[in-house]
């Protein structure tokens, strides 16, 4: 059985390794979130916002030309059609309602590519809540349009200037600011990472993805279970959402695409399961890219959303017990897969998502297999990267 235990562990991974200053916040969340999200009131508000604001259910689309090319029946779960352009908003809608019920007045968040920052700024605008987003100084330069989107939405964007000035440091900074503002502030973490109960809470909010896949596939194919589900993994929230209701259905293969960057052994990679070892980062025990001395190593990926040195503890567990199959996709292959999908299906994917598309070339499957690829986001935010790369 794949599920989180009382102490917040998935097998060997997870837990809440946090400074005592955060203990009251984490306790408050842990004690209340399951109760709150199981109320009818919460469910009604969450589901109506997902429907009317986010635009759910997102289509499960049979990609015929892609299917022809790869020789399988490939469906795309269109999270790219969510409001704000990616799955991230499923989680922020859930957490903002929760924050309100907890009586919080302010929201803080970290962001890498800016997708989670935009999704957070969006729900804060929707609810009239004060919003501050921490973003690595380097990412602010790389992802300018998303920075401006957050500002238009009324959020404050604060550069994280420490360390490598990317997602990891933005997360450090958000945690520090939570320590500084423990009472009135809720921290909306953007992936299935961080101290318990965040990984499970975020996965639950994202689990709407696999819930819908089951119903939609039943309608289209007369069966709830595909043979394979493929998703990209940065922290792992879109993958957790797409896998959630299949964790304990062994006949469904779960394929996770990590970012290999310039190549596994190039020193410029973010392929955590290949390069990582057990460690502690951002409050949880997980697989982590680190030196022999336990210092966290700077990852690299062409997609800012996968540019993270760890993975969520549930994915470390899926890898550890062999339930998940992990592939590492290089920058160049991901970019080409993005162009391929654009030309075969008329969908320009986010570069994160392109890693999941390329995974089709790296795994074995049978001719009549039904494959669902979680199309986590659209490529609008990545135009600059596509242009700089230029290979189209």
């Amino acid at each position: 059985m794949i599920r989180v235990d009382e102490k917040g562990f998935y097998g060997k991974f997870g837990g809440a390794y946090i400074p005592e200053m955060l203990h009251p916040n984490i306790e408050e969340l842990k004690e209340n979130y399951e109760q709150i999200i199981s109320t009818e009131e919460f469910k009604t508000e969450f589901n109506s916002l997902l429907r009317d604001f986010v635009g759910r259910p997102t289509p499960l689309y049979l990609a015929s030309r892609l299917s022809d090319k790869y020789g399988a029946k490939i469906y795309l779960k269109r999270e790219d059609l969510c409001h704000t352009g990616a799955h991230k908003v499923n989680n922020t809608v859930g957490q903002i309602i929760l924050a309100k019920k907890l009586g919080k007045k302010r929201i803080i968040a970290e962001t890498g590519a800016g997708q989670h920052g935009v999704a957070t700024a969006t729900v804060c605008a929707l609810m009239g809540m004060d919003c501050t987003v921490y973003m690595g100084e380097l990412d602010i330069q790389r992802q300018r349009p998303n920075v401006e989107r957050m500002k238009i939405l009324g959020a404050k964007v604060v550069p994280a200037t420490s360390g490598s000035k990317t997602l990891k440091d933005a997360t450090n900074e958000a945690m520090r600011q939570w320590i500084n503002n423990p009472v009135d502030t809720h921290y909306i973490i953007g992936s299935v990472v961080g101290p318990h109960p965040y990984p499970e809470m975020v996965a639950k909010f994202q689990s709407v993805i696999s819930e819908e896949i089951k119903t939609q596939l039943k309608e289209k194919e007369g069966r709830e279970n595909p043979d394979l589900v493929i998703a990209c993994v940065g922290g792992g929230s879109n993958a957790a959402g797409a896998f959630y209701h299949y964790y304990n259905v062994p006949e469904v293969r779960l394929i996770a695409a990590e970012a290999a960057g310039l190549g596994i052994s190039s020193g410029k990679s973010a392929a955590t399961t290949v390069l990582g070892t057990m460690g502690i980062l951002h409050g949880s025990k997980t697989l982590l890219m680190q030196t022999e001395d336990g210092q966290v190593v700077e990852p690299h990926s062409i997609s800012a959303g996968l540019d993270y040195p760890g993975i969520g503890p549930v994915h470390a567990h899926l890898y550890d017990i062999g339930r998940g199959e992990f592939v590492a996709v290089e920058d160049e292959d991901a970019m080409k897969a993005g162009v391929e999908l654009s030309r075969l299906e008329g969908i320009i994917p986010a570069i994160e998502t392109s890693h999941a598309i390329h995974a089709l070339n790296m795994i074995e499957y049978k001719r009549d297999d039904i494959i669902v690829i979680n199309l986590s986001g659209r490529g609008d935010k990545d135009l600059d990267t596509y242009i700089k790369w230029g290979g189209y």
Partner: protein, 257 residues
């Protein structure tokens, strides 16, 4: 007897603990800084083990961590530098560090090495109490290391009692809702929190840290506790120093005067 216990047996007031990051400002400064802290009249030395992602620390200590790592500091290197330091330094010595580098070194090996070298205690800010009790308490005890937990203004009375029960050495009172970093002054709200904890009559001595920077904040904090801890303000002194020995002496004496 553990030097921390001996210290608090003999001195219950105005205990001054000084924190610095190992490997900062220069890689080889570790033992000379310890000697200077002792000569200047402080009571406890806290050595910070640098980490790439110190989430409870403000900009000053973040920077010192980063520079120390760039200088080549690591746990192995630190232990090599500390070989034989007990011939030169008598004060209680506490290692303060985030969990990950220690886990990579191996917790048991780490504890064993600390005991061999003459280290008295540990402060591991991201080691939660229940995890400590489950996994590490026996090891710490086996190797004679006292463990210090943090509390903050948000910590409930019930939890402070639990922490008191499982602490051995002293309790680290974080002075406000805050990461490390020197601020000016101590507010009435902070004083009320100090007093509230003082009136709980805990079995462990209490040292107040975060935001203590000079004689005024040191003595104010000490009037509600057994003493205080200075970190960021001391790191700033090191950063600007042209002569470590004299600057350390001058600074520490200006605090305890």
């Amino acid at each position: 007897m553990n030097r921390i216990h001996t210290l608090f047996k003999n001195k219950q007031e105005r205990v001054l603990s000084i924190y610095f990051t190992a490997g900062f400002p220069k890689l080889e400064n570790t033992v000379p800084i310890m000697e200077a802290i002792e000569a200047a009249g402080a009571d406890i030395i806290e050595i910070g083990v640098p980490y790439s992602d110190p989430i409870a620390d403000g900009p000053t200590i973040q920077d010192s961590n980063l520079i120390a790592l760039e200088n080549g500091m690591s746990l192995k290197k630190l232990f090599a530098q500390l070989e034989g330091f007990r011939e030169k330094v008598n004060l209680p010595v506490v290692l303060m560090g985030y969990l990950n580098p220690i886990i990579q070194y191996g917790m048991e090996e780490f504890c064993k090495k600390c005991q061999e070298l003459g280290i008295d205690g540990l402060i591991l800010p991201d080691l939660p109490m229940h995890q400590y009790l489950e996994e590490f308490k026996e090891l710490f005890e086996q190797y004679g290391l006292s463990n210090t937990f943090l509390i903050s203004p948000q910590t409930s009375e019930k939890r402070i009692r639990e922490i008191d029960e499982h602490s051995d050495g002293f309790i680290y009172m974080v002075s406000s809702h805050s990461i490390t970093g020197a601020k000016s002054g101590i507010s009435d709200e902070q004083k009320a929190y100090f007093k509230r904890v003082k009136d709980m009559n805990l079995k462990n001595p209490r040292l107040i840290g975060f935001g203590i920077s000079d004689a005024d904040t040191f003595h104010t904090a000490s009037s509600f506790s057994n003493g205080a801890i200075i970190g960021s303000a001391f790191i700033k002194v090191l950063k600007e120093s042209k002569n470590l020995e004299t600057d350390i002496k001058e600074y520490i004496q200006s605090v305890i005067k």
